[in-house]
């Protein structure tokens, strides 16, 4: 039944493409099940990445060139340096993605690229390269929303996962609870009012001398600490049960550290890490569950860099089990910024008929669901 549905949609799209005066593919092909191979490019922050994904589910290659060691020197991502590095690496990463997949650009059906949100200079490198390839090879161009990519990462390893589901996306730049109504159809039901969850991890990590990036470092140190040692706040926002606020929590940690210093009390960093993490994890978990219950959705997923946090995964796993919810999360490699997830999202956009022109621009504050 699923196969019939997809075939039908492809015929519709080919017709639409034809009506737009674009090159139409052999119509006979559309009556059979056709593989759609997408070359995806991602450069929104400090990872230069390219991947080849077939039919939105099969990852043929997933190449990531990380700049993290370089940005560590500066205690965070430097936009100008990130942009320069993207340009240096972009061709190598694309070539590797194609060769690992055993394909050439001629085998590709469409080019997918992240065009927002993110650092504008960084995004522009991927967008310009993707447009040039799309133009040179006469392949459709599909612009992808970075967060929709993170959400779509869940499809890679979970064949059974189909919308609707609730997904909490938490990373260094974002914290959202999203209702995925259908492929390519998203509704934000909760968002952070201030800092992103991952941002709070970075700031707290810096304050206890762990350095950048904070997420994995706090995760590791927290394992040696007592998560109940210090009672940090769990922020609730009136009339917005799914929204987050992490800046108060961050301030509470900084205040605690200051007070200890003033009173000459030695800080147990592991306890601080564990207690801080417990607060973030509890809020993320509870709000997600609340949303799923209220919307009557039995499938719950997480995505983004914070989804790689072991405590968050365990907490979600435990609570979902208790409530009888299905719980999905991507492997760490698909939680971090990568192009495979962009290829997945691009596939469903492609099927839905989304096409972008050669004038596609980077949109640093792109909204979820904006086309």
């Amino acid at each position: 039944m699923g196969v019939n549905f997809v075939t039908h949609v492809i015929i519709f799209i080919e017709n639409r493409l034809y009506s737009c005066g674009r090159k139409m593919e052999n119509k006979n092909q559309t009556t059979k099940e056709k593989e759609v191979k997408i070359l995806a490019i991602e450069s929104s922050c400090d990872e230069t990445a390219a991947a080849v994904v077939v039919n939105g589910r099969k990852v043929c290659s997933n190449v990531i060139s990380s700049q993290i060691e370089l940005h560590k020197l500066f205690g965070g991502v430097v936009p100008e340096i990130a942009s320069r590095k993207h340009l240096e690496k972009i061709n190598q990463v694309i070539e590797e993605a194609l060769s690992e997949a055993g394909m050439t650009l001629d085998d590709i059906d469409a080019v997918g690229v992240t065009y927002g949100p993110g650092l504008v200079g960084a995004l522009l490198v991927g967008v310009a390269a993707a447009k040039a390839i799309s133009f040179a090879k006469n392949k459709p161009l599909v612009g992808v929303h970075h967060i929709e990519g993170h959400i779509s990462a869940n499809y890679i390893e979970h064949e059974a996962l189909v919308p609707p589901f609730i997904c909490t996306v938490a990373s260094g730049g974002h914290s959202h609870i999203v209702l995925v109504e259908d492929y390519g159809k998203y509704k934000i039901i909760g968002r952070t009012r201030d800092d992103a969850a991952g941002e709070a991890f970075d700031k707290v990590a810096r304050s206890i001398g762990l350095g950048y990036p904070g997420g994995p470092k706090i995760d590791k140190l927290a394992k040696q600490g007592n998560s109940k040692a210090i009672m940090f706040p769990r922020a609730k926002i009136e009339d917005a049960p799914y929204d987050f606020s992490f800046s108060g929590l961050k301030s509470a940690v900084l205040n605690y550290l200051n007070q200890c210093e003033m009173k000459n009390i030695e800080v147990n960093k592991a306890d601080v890490a564990a207690s801080f993490q417990a607060s973030v994890v509890e809020v993320l978990t509870m709000h997600t569950l609340q949303a799923a219950q209220d919307f009557g959705i039995k499938k719950v997923a997480i995505a983004g860099g914070v989804a790689a946090n072991t405590s968050f995964r365990e907490s979600m796993e435990k609570v979902c089990k208790e409530k009888g919810f299905e719980f999905y999360y991507p492997s760490p490699i698909y939680c971090t910024d990568n192009a495979a997830m962009i290829g997945v999202a691009a596939y469903y956009e492609y099927i839905n008929g989304t096409r972008h022109g050669l004038d596609l621009n980077a949109v640093p504050n792109l909204k979820i669901g904006q086309r």
Binding site: L73, R84, I90, G121, L124, A129
Partner: protein, 246 residues
């Protein structure tokens, strides 16, 4: 010039400043040039311009022997949009890239001049990206090497040369009065059509530099200025180089 060079078909792409400019040079004939200086972001204009120009000339990307591009200096973002476009085109079509200095490309606009040619590009903070050239045997010869320089220092260096100087580039709009006051009648300025970057000049220079072509993967920009974060890091670390992390 070799027969090979005279027969080259080049696509030239320039986006180092406010101007977006593209051109086609084919077998010694400039068959198209499209230049926009209308404040729109290169990200939305550059590739549609290339598309239009190639279509109107009834050409195919596969017809070209190489892509010419300015490798800097210039606006970091502008340069990168051009460079990433060229890298994408080069990768897809397996075309080599011929990198050319933006300053030399500007000087080429007025290469029939007998004066010293001094392109100045506004680099903010009272500085310009600059160089100076003289034409000898029909070729541009560097008199002052390219670098970011305080406008006052540049004027002093040019005074020493005791020759007339022809200025051009987007720095003229910022420093015309200062230059005219200091160099008096020895300073002159290019006309509007030659004042800014033009892909036709880039294409002609690229033809001469055919031997310097690189692969699209090897092609890199020369910004002439490190990022602010990098400069500050070096100051803190007594001039030490950033650990090479490739």
């Amino acid at each position: 010039m070799s027969i090979v060079q005279d027969n080259l078909k080049l696509l030239a792409i320039e986006s180092s400043g406010n101007v977006a400019s593209v051109a086609i040079l084919e077998q010694g004939k400039m068959i198209a040039e499209l230049t926009m200086n209308n404040k729109k972001t290169h990200s939305t204009t550059l590739l549609p311009m290339i598309d239009q120009m190639i279509k109107m000339c009834e050409k195919d990307l596969a017809d070209f022997d190489a892509i010419a591009v300015t490798r800097g200096p210039g606006s970091f973002t502008g340069l990168r949009i051009g460079a990433a476009t060229v890298k994408g085109l080069g990768l897809a079509m397996e075309l080599p890239v011929i990198p050319v200095s933006t300053l030399e490309c500007l000087a080429m606009n007025v290469s029939e001049s007998n004066d010293i040619i001094c392109p100045i590009m506004d680099a903010r903070r009272n500085q310009v990206y600059t160089a100076a050239y003289e034409v000898k045997d029909g070729r541009l010869q560097e008199v002052l090497k390219e670098e970011p320089m305080d406008i006052k220092d540049l004027i002093e260096k040019l005074k020493v040369l005791e020759k007339n100087v022809l200025f051009l580039g987007d720095g003229v709009a910022v420093y015309r009065n200062v230059i005219a006051q200091e160099l008096k009648e020895r300073a002159c300025f290019a006309k509007e059509h030659n004042m800014v970057q033009r892909a036709s000049s880039l294409a002609v220079l690229a033809k001469e530099k055919w031997e310097q072509r690189v692969t699209s993967k090897e092609f890199h920009l020369e910004y002439l200025r490190a990022s602010q974060a990098e400069r500050e890091w070096k100051e803190e670390h007594q001039g030490e180089e950033l650990p090479c992390l490739s």
